[in-house]
């Protein structure tokens, strides 16, 4: 579904991405984790078509990304700058749906349904500044859901909320992505989170960035904040990802298991 091949990007003489290749199958939730400043955001912006990479290829459903694809949505880390503060939650969610050719009433219905899915049916008429950070990020997720993309990109979506909210949002993303069968690329610097949320974890190296490892997560689709994190497989995988993020080399034993 998503094919990133040998992606290279440089800012002037500074090479950020040095041949990154990632594949995601239809409906897969792929977490990309890497050390701070390793070009994760550059990667996401190239996939979204917001910047034109220096080299390499990004294919979505076999078509190269040249402009911003119309079947793609993004949830940014900084929800306070991503939602429009002059619009209510419902209008923030409904606005992109004009492109889907829906009339006013249908847009409104779709927005309400999406807000309901993220548990914010009662907050439809609230403005972003009347909501907590977690609620704003839910609105941002609802906006992406209502848009019905086939590819969802998330750029450290839980990076600016407290721990409790973060766990709620992780479970929310797991639930809605499975429900809609969306292919999702989630970028994070949180090792624990990447293993908990992902079907697969891609570990990036330091800049200039390459793929250090591509690890399948054999934890099943249904996950639980307490039980899943106690599993031996989870603990082993988390340790492995942690080692790789810190620049270690892959441990053969862990990889053999998968």
């Amino acid at each position: 579904m998503l094919e990133i091949t040998d992606l290279v990007h440089s800012y002037g003489s500074h090479r950020v991405l040095d041949g990154v290749s990632i594949r995601a199958a239809e409906g897969e939730l792929v977490c990309v984790v890497g050390p701070s400043g390793c070009g994760k955001s550059t990667l996401l912006r190239s996939v979204a078509g917001l910047i034109r990479p220096t080299g390499g290829r990004v294919l979505i459903d076999g078509r190269p990304v040249e402009r911003i694809p119309d079947n793609l949505a993004v949830v940014f880390q900084d929800y306070s700058r991503s939602l429009y503060p002059w619009m209510t939650a419902a209008n923030n969610v409904a606005l992109p749906l004009r492109r889907r050719g829906l009339d006013r009433r249908r847009r409104r219905e779709a927005a309400m349904a999406a807000l309901d899915q993220v548990g914010l049916a009662d907050a439809a008429e609230k403005y972003p500044w009347e909501m907590s950070g977690g609620m704003q990020q839910r609105v941002s997720i609802a906006r992406a859901l209502a848009y019905r993309p086939s590819l969802l990109l998330m750029d450290e979506p839980f990076g600016s909320v407290d721990a409790q909210t973060r766990e709620d949002l992780e479970d929310l993303v797991l639930r809605v992505c499975a429900h809609h069968g969306m292919t999702t690329l989630l970028i994070t610097h949180d090792i624990d989170e990447s293993v908990y949320v992902g079907d697969r974890v891609i570990v990036l190296t330091r800049s200039p960035t390459r793929v250090a490892a591509d690890l399948p997560v054999d934890l099943g689709r249904s996950r639980d904040q307490i039980a899943t994190r106690q599993l031996g497989a989870f603990v082993r995988l988390r340790a492995e990802v942690g080692r790789l993020v810190r620049g270690g080399s892959p441990t053969p034993t862990v990889l053999e298991k998968h």
């Binding site: 991503s82 002059w86 848009y147």
Partner: protein, 262 residues
């Protein structure tokens, strides 16, 4: 409690008025009529009409009517042109590269200097007066709108790109609302400037209206009339500003609240 405090702060007004009254009565200068005499003349001039017209006299109609019409027409015209041009220039680096120097030049020209030019170019009366007002007050609107449109948050624009907003949507739903706080700052400055330029224009370029009344009262030594005009202009400026603040508070509620909470 707040009301009492607000009244408490106003004590300086009557004290000043009384002091002025005493000083002018003692001095007996014809240039400085006592406030009471000015007030009586204002009543005679403007508020001794029939109750059916809210006591407004014929003279009140001919003084205020054309002046207010010019003021609002000029302000509205400047707002439309200023905001439209400002958004266009703010969104296009090429346009702003070309036009920035011209704008700063135009802004630096003292608007009253252009009255003779507009008089030569346009008809005496309303056209020349409107041109003077619009040219004089458009700059704060234009400059503020350009700044507002140029400094829209990058992520607001990227969100619009990701979700494929049309050009119209991008302008009306993202750029203009984002620039609105700055546009309103410009509009408010322009409103107070408009009153000044209205009087300038009426003194130099026409007949009728408050500015003309002020000038003819001064020329015919009717100093109480002249002071009456000054007082009513002061009140008008104060009222316009208060009304505008009320409007701004409604339209920009999101802005005030967003700033308080983040």
């Amino acid at each position: 409690m707040n009301a009492i405090r607000a009244v408490g702060r106003l004590w300086l007004v009557p004290v000043t008025l009384v002091a002025w009254e005493i000083a002018t009565r003692v001095a007996e200068q014809p240039f400085f009529p006592p406030p009471s005499a000015t007030l009586v003349r204002m009543g005679e001039m403007w508020l001794s009409g029939p109750p059916s017209r809210l006591l407004l006299t014929e003279q009140a109609m001919s003084d205020f009517g054309p002046s207010l019409a010019r003021l609002f027409a000029g302000w509205a015209l400047a707002a439309v042109i200023g905001v439209a041009a400002g958004v266009a220039i703010g969104c296009s680096t090429r346009l702003s590269d070309y036009l920035d120097p011209l704008i700063h030049l135009g802004r630096a020209v003292p608007p009253p200097l252009l009255v003779p030019f507009f008089l030569a170019l346009l008809k005496l009366g309303t056209p020349a007066q409107l041109a003077t007002i619009v040219f004089g007050i458009i700059w704060p609107i234009l400059v503020n709108t350009i700044d507002g449109a140029r400094t829209v948050d990058r992520q607001h624009l990227e969100t619009a790109r990701i979700f494929g907003f049309s050009t119209v949507q991008r302008l009306t739903r993202v750029i203009v609302p984002a620039a609105m706080p700055k546009i309103f700052a410009g509009l408010r400055l322009a409103l107070s400037l408009a009153l000044i330029l209205l009087i300038v224009a009426e003194i130099f370029a026409g007949s009728g209206g408050l500015g003309y009344r002020l000038l003819s009262a001064q020329r015919t030594y009717l100093y109480a009339d002249m002071w009456g005009c000054l007082v009513v202009l002061g009140l008008l400026g104060y009222l316009l500003n208060s009304a505008f603040l009320l409007l701004e508070r409604r339209v920009l509620a999101w802005h005030r609240n967003a700033r308080q909470t983040t």
